[in-house]
């Protein structure tokens, strides 16, 4: 794994273990790094702990009341558990499996929802600028600029998902976490999101959970393979796909399970 450590990591996961119920670990002693301005894919069979690991990166896993967390995650060298969650979540944004724009808000309001939810007052022209930039960044601007004041739920699934990405990047976070963001989308919408992620990594660091191996192969720079809560293998995507070190990784990549 020496090649994943060449650049200064944005995220450094150290001996992380997470249990939803006492003693039953969904993530077991995971240590890994995430490089700046790259796409890191997390793969593995269903239930192996991908989402749990991802959600720990902005402490969304703490929404479950009985969760038990051990180990640490460093963001730019600082433990995320020593930051306020609000501050952390502004630095580490998230996009979910199913597009979830706020149904009571317009497209415009959805993009700046992070600001309005946090009672951050902006001038109209500042807001306009944030909305236009975020929507341009997700290649949605030309499609929706005529309907900014209509509800976001009128958009197609793929457009909604890009709106959710726009909402997540409107705060200009450092890291963007995506949990199977294309699993509810058709192939065309999926490829749009994939192209988009390729562009976004120039500005942001992206961590992507995916069930889809060809997607990981297509767009990720680094990959992690998890199995039963453990991080089995991590490294450059090319290396991991062509010469996996662990027999379990190889079995997964050749479709033997998952």
């Amino acid at each position: 794994m020496s090649d994943t450590q060449t650049a200064e990591p944005v995220l450094k996961i150290e001996g992380l273990s997470i249990a939803y119920e006492p003693g039953r670990y969904a993530v077991k002693d995971v240590s890994a790094t995430v490089k700046r301005n790259s796409i890191t894919a997390i793969m593995g069979p269903s239930g192996c702990g991908k989402s749990t690991l991802l959600r720990a990166m902005n402490r969304m896993h703490e929404l479950y009341p009985n969760i038990e967390t051990r180990g640490d995650i460093l963001l730019d060298g600082q433990s995320i558990f020593s930051m306020s969650v609000i501050e952390l979540r502004r630095k580490v944004g998230m996009v979910f499996q199913r597009p979830n724009p706020f149904p009571n808000m317009t497209i415009y309001e959805n993009v700046v929802a992070g600001y309005s939810l946090n009672d951050i007052r902006l001038k109209k022209n500042q807001r306009d600028e944030i909305v236009e930039n975020a929507l341009r960044n997700v290649t949605l601007w030309d499609e929706v600029k005529e309907f900014l004041y209509r509800k976001g739920t009128f958009l197609s699934g793929g457009q909604q998902q890009r709106l959710c990405v726009a909402r997540a990047i409107a705060f200009n976070p450092e890291v963007l976490l995506l949990d199977e963001p294309t699993s509810a989308l058709d192939p065309i919408a999926t490829s749009k999101i994939e192209d988009l992620l390729g562009e976004l990594k120039k500005q942001y660091t992206i961590v992507l959970v995916t069930h889809n191996m060809s997607q990981a192969a297509r767009i990720s720079d680094d990959s992690m393979f998890m199995y039963l809560g453990e991080l089995v293998e991590a490294g450059r995507t090319e290396t991991l796909f062509t010469t996996p070190k662990d027999a379990r990784t190889e079995a997964y990549l050749t479709g033997k399970f998952g």
């Binding site: 929404l63 979540r89 502004r90 199913r98 992070g114 939810l117 946090n118 997540a168």
Partner: protein, 283 residues
């Protein structure tokens, strides 16, 4: 006939019975109310007279309509803060915890207490308390009845609202949390706006229950056939005047009471339909 067909036929027959029964109730109510409506016309609804003296008999429904509407709306007003906060507590703040479970069972238990017991409690516990404040001599009246009525409808409003609040998709809450929102911000900016129409509807349905509530109100409202003059004035509701007077009523008076019953039925049905419509349409 196959067993399947027999079952189908039986089910059809029993639902037909329900249908015929409700149609029968409406028909006999309407039939009974005709003499009063023929005598007074639409003025029956707007007249405030209630004079059973033979020879100068005169009946009007307005005092009772007013009593019903005022006590029910006041009860609703008192119920909203209690039910709204309890449902947020159960369905969001303490969702899935033991505390919420206990509170939920307590609320359900409140719903199971018979009306007469509420009336009793109002009579022996609440009334002396109100008298001791000096605001009222006898302790009977609109306010006393409304407080008890409010407590009686809290369980319905609470469990309906809690259900609606619990239905707000967790994806939306998570989206807000992931944007750095606090618990309070999630509740006020995501949960309440998404559940708003459902919550409104659950209060409308609770209002529907308050309108027809009889026993406890009859025991506490003071049974004066007048338009209530203030919060502590005695009055009468549509349901309580019927309960009080149907025993010794005949002729035109009986018809007037039946007409009040029919009006109450119509008002309650309308309010319930509005509540259900909102729930189905927006929730």
């Amino acid at each position: 006939m196959s067993g399947d067909k027999v079952t189908k036929a039986l089910l059809f027959l029993s639902s037909l019975t329900v249908l015929l029964l409700s149609a029968g109730i409406v028909l006999s109510l309407t039939g009974g109310a005709i003499p009063a409506f023929r005598e007074y016309g639409p003025g029956f609804i707007t007249s405030t007279l209630w004079n059973p003296t033979t020879g100068s008999e005169e009946y009007g429904a307005l005092p009772f309509i007013a009593g019903t509407v005022i006590t029910s709306l006041l009860a609703l007003l008192l119920c909203i803060p209690m039910a709204f906060s309890t449902s947020l507590f159960i369905a969001e703040y303490f969702r899935g915890t033991r505390t919420a479970g206990i509170l939920r069972s307590l609320v359900d238990m409140l719903a199971g207490i018979p009306s007469i017991v509420y009336g009793f409690w109002g009579f022996y516990a609440l009334r002396p308390l109100l008298i001791s404040t000096g605001l009222t001599d006898q302790g009977f009246g609109i306010f006393t009845a409304s407080i008890v009525l409010a407590i009686m409808i809290v369980p319905y409003a609470t469990s309906l609202s809690a259900e609606i609040i619990a239905m707000v998709p967790s994806e939306l809450k998570e989206a807000a949390y992931s944007l750095g929102a606090t618990r309070r911000e999630v509740i006020f900016s995501v949960i309440i706006p998404s559940a708003r129409s459902g919550i409104v509807a659950s209060f409308i349905l609770a209002l529907g229950r308050a309108l027809g509530e009889t026993m406890a109100v009859t025991m506490l409202i003071g049974n004066a056939n007048i338009i209530p003059k203030g919060l502590f004035s005695p009055g009468n509701t549509m349901a309580s005047v019927i309960a009080n007077q149907f025993g010794e009523a005949d002729g035109l008076k009986l018809s007037a009471l039946i007409a009040i019953g029919l009006l109450l039925f119509a008002i309650t049905a309308l309010v319930n339909a509005a509540g259900k419509f909102i729930i189905r349409r927006f929730a």
